[in-house]
C-alpha cells in the first residue's frame, strides 16, 4: 500500500516552508546531539545532574523489583542442590574435614601476625567503609557495563570510590546523585585495576572485556606468567583500591592473555560496600607519625 504523505506538500507555500523548517530543525537536532556526545565523551562526569535525575526517578521501582528477583534468581541453584544432595553431602564432608585443619593453622598464623605487627609497630589502617548499599539495576541495553547503586552522596558516596562485595571487588563509582550512584563494573573495558598473584606476588593489571570476564596481563615480563587456577587480588599499587581485595581466578589462556572470572558476579551480589579511596602515601605517613609519637612516649 502506498500511504498518503504530508511530506509532499504540492503547491501549498505554507506547507512547503513548514516542511523545510522541520528538516532544518531535525538536522540541527542531530548536530546538537553530536556536540553533546563529544562533551559527554571528553568529560564523563558532565551531565551527571541530568543522569542522576533519571536514576532517582527509576530508583524506587528498580530497588523493589530487585528484592523480588534476587529471591527468584537463586531458585535454579536451590533445585540443583536438592538433586545433587547425596554426592554433594559426601564431598562437602571431606572438604569440611580438610578445612578444619587449615582453619586451625590459619588461626595460629593470624596470632603470629598480630604479634609480629606489634613488634614492628604497624597499625592496621581502618577499613574505610563509606556506605553500604544494593546494586539495583544496570545499563542492560548499552554496551557500557555500568550498574546502579541505591546509595548516593547523601550517604557519603563520591565518584572514584571503590566498591566491593563480600566475595570480591565489584568496581568503582563514576557518578553519584543524591540517593543513587553509578558503578563502573570490573568487567568494563575502561576499568583497569592493578592486581597481584596471591601465590608469588607477581604484579599485573586487570581490565574488563565487556562480556563478564576480565583479562589479566603481567606488568614486567615478556611472557604471560599467569596460568589457569591462579588467584589474583588487588595489589594496592597506585592507590584507589585497597590491597588484598579478591579480584578473580584465571580460567583459561587466549593468545598469551590470561582470561579470568571475577569472584564477585555483579548479577548475584546483594550487599556491596563503598570504600573510601586508598591513599598509600598518606597511610604510610600516618603510621610513621603514630610510630614517632609512640617512640616519644
Amino acid at each position: 500500500m502506498a500511504p498518503q504523505s504530508k511530506r509532499r506538500p504540492g503547491y501549498d507555500r505554507k506547507a512547503q516552508y513548514g516542511l523545510f523548517a522541520s528538516y532544518v530543525i531535525a538536522i540541527g537536532g542531530a548536530l546538537i546531539g553530536l556536540v553533546l556526545l563529544a562533551i559527554s565523551i571528553l568529560d564523563p562526569p558532565g551531565f551527571s545532574a541530568l543522569r542522576s535525575a533519571g536514576a532517582e526517578i527509576a530508583r524506587p521501582v528498580a530497588s523493589n523489583l530487585r528484592k523480588l528477583v534476587v529471591g527468584v534468581g537463586n531458585l535454579d541453584e536451590a533445585v540443583a542442590a536438592y538433586i545433587n544432595a547425596g554426592s554433594q553431602n559426601a564431598a562437602l564432608r571431606r572438604q569440611v574435614d580438610a578445612n578444619r585443619t587449615r582453619l586451625i593453622e590459619a588461626e595460629a598464623i593470624r596470632q603470629e601476625n598480630v604479634h609480629l605487627k606489634r613488634l614492628l609497630r604497624l597499625t592496621e589502617t581502618e577499613i574505610g567503609i563509606a556506605a553500604a548499599g544494593h546494586l539495583i539495576s544496570s545499563a542492560s541495553s548499552s554496551t557500557a557495563r555500568v550498574a546502579r547503586l541505591d546509595v548516593g552522596h547523601a550517604q557519603g558516596v563520591k565518584p572514584g570510590m571503590p566498591v566491593r562485595a563480600p566475595e570480591g571487588l565489584v568496581g568503582r563509582i563514576i557518578r553519584s546523585g543524591p540517593n543513587t550512584a553509578d558503578v563502573l563494573l570490573l568487567i568494563d573495558e575502561g576499568n583497569i585495576v592493578p592486581v597481584r598473584r596471591t601465590s608469588d606476588n607477581i604484579p599485573g593489571i586487570s581490565s574488563g572485556r565487556g562480556d563478564g570476564t576480565i583479562e589479566i596481563r603481567a606488568l614486567n615480563t615478556e611472557r604471560n606468567p599467569f596460568k589457569p587456577g591462579d588467584v589474583v587480588v588487588t595489589s594496592g599499587i597506585g592507590g584507589l583500591y585497597r590491597p588484598n581485595i579478591p579480584v578473580g581466578v584465571v580460567a583459561r589462556l587466549e593468545n598469551d592473555n590470561a582470561i579470568a572470572i571475577p569472584f564477585a558476579n555483579p548479577s548475584r551480589v546483594e550487599l556491596v560496600v563503598v570504600q573510601t579511596p586508598f591513599r598509600p602515601v598518606e597511610a604510610a605517613r600516618e603510621s610513621a607519625a603514630q610510630a614517632a609519637s609512640a617512640d616519644d612516649r
Partner: protein
C-alpha cells in the same frame, strides 16, 4: 445489532492528549523499562525497547513523528539507558532522516518492507551506540551486540502489534 456491537469501538470521546500523547508516552515507557529491569547484566542483555516502540509507530504510521522527534525522545532514552548523552539524540534523528529519504524513493510498503527497514535501523542504532561507547574507552568487542540485535529484530513484529493495539485504543 451491529450498531450495538461497534458502539464501544467507534466514535468514542478522545482528548487531544489521549490521541497525541499515547505514542510519546509509550516510547518514554519503553526507554524506562531498561532502567527499571532489576537485573545487573554482564553483557548487553535487553533490546532497546524505546527505539523499537519508536520505530514501531513509524512503520505503522509513517507521518506520526515530526522529523525532529528523535532529538527530545532520544535525550530521554540516553538519560535512562546509560549511553553517553547525545548518542540516541543523534542516532534516532539520523534514523528518522534516513527513513524519510527511503520513504521518498520507495513509496510502496508492506509487512516485510517495514521489518527490513526496521532491521537496518536497529542495526545502525546498536552499532552506533557501541561505537560511541567504544570511543569513550568503555564497552567491549562488537560481537557482544549480535545477540541483542538478533532478538531486537525477532521481537520487532510483536512491538508493532503492541503499537497497533495502542493505536486502536487511542483513536476515536
Amino acid at each position: 445489532m451491529n450498531s450495538r456491537r461497534y458502539a464501544t469501538r467507534i466514535a468514542r470521546p478522545r482528548s487531544a492528549l489521549h490521541i497525541r500523547g499515547t505514542p510519546i508516552i509509550s516510547v518514554l515507557l519503553g526507554s524506562m523499562i531498561v532502567a527499571l529491569v532489576p537485573v545487573v547484566a554482564q553483557a548487553p542483555l535487553l533490546p532497546p525497547f524505546g527505539l523499537m516502540i519508536f520505530l514501531g509507530w513509524r512503520v505503522l504510521r509513517p507521518d506520526i513523528w515530526p522529523l525532529w522527534a528523535g532529538a527530545p525522545l532520544g535525550l530521554f532514552d540516553d538519560v535512562m539507558s546509560g549511553q553517553p548523552i547525545g548518542s540516541a539524540i543523534f542516532l534516532w534523528t539520523a534514523i528518522l532522516l534516513l527513513l524519510d529519504v527511503e520513504n521518498q524513493r520507495h513509496v510502496w510498503r508492506d509487512y516485510w518492507h517495514g521489518w527490513f527497514t526496521a532491521t537496518l535501523a536497529l542495526g545502525l542504532a546498536l552499532t552506533g551506540g557501541w561505537f560511541f561507547v567504544h570511543i569513550g574507552g568503555h564497552g567491549g568487542s562488537l560481537v557482544q551486540i549480535l545477540p541483542q540485535l538478533a532478538y531486537s529484530v525477532g521481537l520487532f513484529p510483536l512491538i508493532v502489534r503492541l503499537c497497533a493495539a495502542l493505536d486502536r485504543w487511542r483513536l476515536p
